[in-house]
Each structure stands twice: as structure tokens, then as C-alpha cells.
Symmetry: C2
Subunit: 235 residues, 2 copies
DNA sequence: CAGCCTCTGTACGATACCGCACACAATCCA
DNA sequence: TGGATTGTGTGCGGTATCGTACAGAGGCTG
């Protein structure tokens, strides 16, 4: 019975030299990530890191009053749980599955051991963390200066980049939680973008119709982040 | 002629075991950081990292249309130029001196060499980078959800924490650039906070009068960041 | 097929911030 | 001392988003 997925569908794992990959291979555990599942909670020590394959995970901060905002998004280009190897073991944010799928997970101590070999894995993880820094920084700037329409397009593009599909399953309510705005605001933005013929939206199913058009409608933030990921990460 | 400052006024350098500190001591170069000086530019390879002593450096992103926003702020608790050891060698942001003073700088290759010893320096720098991640994440959230009044208080507190003084030299124009808002908006926020008796503002000189009051008026973001810095970093 | 629940669309006043214009006040300097 | 420069305060219409309320539409289930 062949696996439906291979760990090397995650770009970080794929970039490891086979010697390093084989050392951890046996400890990679394939698990499903159902929509809405939380991979870690604010301030709680993490036990695993996750390498998404065909799923998307949102890092988001939930405020005292319940409102929330996405800080960054992780797909098969990255890893969830950087604070394990960065040394803090926890962060003040949550990691929530935004698009269901699968991931490979690895026990924290094993990853740290691998990290402290100071080999290719360490270099990869650090470069990825820098890309994550850029994404967070750009999120901050975008939240400050750009319209909801632009941010919606940026968000769509970031999500579709991390999926191998042209359809995304996601209600406007959930998107609103990610963007930190009202659900009605998303209705309006989505309506605008749909009228422009760039996407098709239907009860939680978003299909991308015109990628170039979306990129044009999004703010510069998307391009900046994408360029930086391409520069810093293999492939 | 004694030095006016000691490198160990920077908390990261102070936290190094003397064996490690002495290895780099001779290569630390004390330099003045005049107001407005840029320590690195977007996309340009960095040659140095900087350990501020009594100065404050803002990491900020400048957009295509010229508007800007602060991403994070670095004082004597940290280091400017994390992308040097993270592997990217550059970032899409700028580092600008927000409050004049001094710093010690170290050539990039020397820092990287030290980093790859995988000793205390590496651990410190990684933990600091995680703290920086938290600050950026919180900036993003804050930009999304909080009022200018709250953000202004948060910003003041972050700045005063990085100074050993109760007076900050900074025009409303400059603050507006950091917060990514209009100068008039800062006038109003500053006026409100001054009316409340928390600060005294006079032509570019801000004096803090009631720190507890400021903390109360600021959003939760300040406390979250401060707590995380205290948790992750020595002292 | 009827009924229910989820998801989406629309409307409307409130509000925070913007962009612009301009007056005034403090400081510097010829 | 008088004029220029820099920094601050204020007013006003415009706009994006909010909070709330509610109506319709698609899809599931009994």
C-alpha cells in the first residue's frame, strides 16, 4: 500500500541532502490536519513541529476581547513551530489549520537535536525563519496602509500559492477572522473581486479565474513576500 | 582616557560568558549613531551588525508611494542585522536611527563565524530573534485593531524602555512616519495623552510623567511584547 | 418535500482616520 | 531685533471600515 503523500512534498524536507533526510525519515509521522484544528496555543510549550504537505496553517493572534488577526501563513514551503529551535519553546500566538490536509510531524527534541548538528537542516530552518520574519513585517505594513480589497487579494494569492489546486474551501466568516475584519467587509471585497471576474465565490468555495488580475489588484506586499521567499528558499 | 561607554551596556554582549566576549572584544568598534542615519537599506547586503548602547534604531518599511511603517524597534537589549546570521544577508526593510547615541558594530563575517561556533552567542542571538518575531507579530495585530491613541502609548513605552532617560527627543512628524499615520493624527494623540497628564510634550521633547498611566492607556500589545522579551532574554 | 441551518448580500448611521489648508508659536540666525 | 524656519494646533469635508440588523439563498436532513 503506497503512501498517498511523500514527506518530500514539503519543500524544506525535499531540500535536505539524502544523508540528513534519512536520519530523520523514520521519525516523521504522517498525520491529518482537519480544518480548524489548533497545532499550538499561545504560551503553551510545543511538543512537535509540523511540515505541511497539502494543508495550510495560519499563525494568528487572538486578543483579550476575542478579535483576531493572522500574522503569517505556512504551507508546504515551511514548518510550523519555529520557536522550538529558536529557543523559546512557545509563542504568544496560535497555529490553526486554515485548509485541511496532511502534514508530517517530528518530536521537538528530535528536531532540536538535528538543528544543533549545525548542518543543512539548520541553514534551511534559519533561512525559512527569515522568510517568515519578512512575511510578518509585510503583514504589519499591509494592515496599516492597504485597503481591504487589496489585502483580500494578497491573502488569496498567499493561500493559493500554498495549495496545489485552483479551489480553496473557506467561508467568508473564516477569512474575516484571518484578516481581522468584519464578515460583511469580506462579503464586499469578495463581491468586488468577483465582479471584476478574478474569482468565483460560492458558499465557501473560492475558485481562482485570473491570477494575473489578482496580482495586479493586490498591493505590493504580496510581491515583496513572494520574492523574498523565492530568494531565501530552495526551488 | 576612559571610554564613555562599555560594550557590555548592550544586554546581549553583557550576557556572553567572558571567554566568548573576549574573543570578539577587540573587533567591536564603537561608533556614533546620529539621528536619521540609515544602518542598512532594503535589499542591500549588510556588512555589519550593530549592538546599540544608548541609541534606538527603528526597523521600518518604506512603500513604493513613499509612505512608511515601523516594523520593530531595537535598543540596547538587541542587535540590528539579524538577517546576517539568519542567512539572507539582506531584508526588504530599512534600519534608521530614531534616537541618537552610540553602538558597537562588528563585521558580518566575524559575527557569522562566532554564530557558527554554536555556542552561547548563537543561543542568545536566536532567542533575541524570536523576541523580534513577537514584536513584529504584535505590531501587525496592533496596526489592525487598536486606536492611534493606544498605539502612540505603546510606541512611547517601547521607546522609553530602550532609553535610560525620561526624556525622548522626537518630533511628531517623525513619530507619524514610524506609526505610519498623519502628523496631525499624532498631534491629536499626543494632545490627548498630555491632557491626561501622562506626558509633557514640547517641540520635539517628550517627557514621561506617569508611566503606569501610559501602560494603562496602551493596548495589551505592549505588555505582551515586554513579557516575551523578559521571558526570552537574560536580565 | 418541508424545514432548518449555514452562508452570503444589503442597508444605515457611527466613527476613526485621511488629505488639505492654514494659523500660530517657538527657536534660530542674520 | 526682525525675519525665516521649524514644529504644533485646529478645522472641515471625504472615505473606509465598523456595529448592527435583517433578508434571501443554497444545501442538508428528516
Amino acid at each position: 500500500m503506497p503512501l498517498a503523500h511523500d514527506p518530500r512534498e514539503n519543500h524544506l524536507l525535499a531540500a535536505l541532502p539524502s544523508e540528513d533526510y534519512e536520519r530523520i525519515f523514520a521519525n516523521l509521522e504522517r498525520i491529518p490536519l482537519p480544518l480548524g484544528e489548533s497545532l499550538y496555543e499561545s504560551g503553551i510549550q510545543m511538543s512537535y513541529v509540523y511540515f505541511p504537505i497539502n494543508s495550510i496553517v495560519s499563525l494568528l493572534y487572538v486578543m483579550e476581547d476575542g478579535s483576531s488577526a493572522e500574522i503569517a501563513v505556512v504551507g508546504n514551503e515551511g514548518i510550523v513551530g519555529v520557536s522550538l529551535f529558536m529557543g523559546g519553546e512557545s509563542t504568544p500566538s496560535r497555529a490553526v489549520v486554515q485548509s485541511a490536509g496532511h502534514a508530517y510531524r517530528l518530536r521537538g527534541p528530535l528536531l532540536k537535536h538535528e538543528f544543533y548538528r549545525a548542518g543543512p537542516m539548520q541553514r534551511l530552518l534559519l533561512r525559512y525563519t527569515q522568510a517568515l520574519l519578512t512575511q510578518m513585517a509585510q503583514t504589519a505594513v499591509c494592515n496599516r496602509h492597504h485597503t481591504l480589497d487589496q489585502q483580500f487579494c494578497r491573502w488569496l494569492l498567499l493561500s493559493f500559492d500554498r495549495l496545489n489546486s485552483d479551489e480553496l474551501v473557506m467561508t467568508q466568516e473564516l477569512i474575516a477572522g484571518m484578516l481581522g475584519v468584519r464578515r460583511e467587509g469580506v462579503t464586499e471585497a469578495a463581491g468586488n473581486v468577483q465582479k471584476a471576474g478574478l474569482i468565483k465565490y460560492s458558499r465557501g468555495h473560492i475558485t481562482i479565474l485570473d491570477r494575473a488580475g489578482l496580482e495586479k489588484r493586490a498591493c505590493e506586499c504580496y510581491a515583496v513576500v513572494k520574492k523574498e521567499f523565492d530568494r531565501l528558499l530552495p526551488d
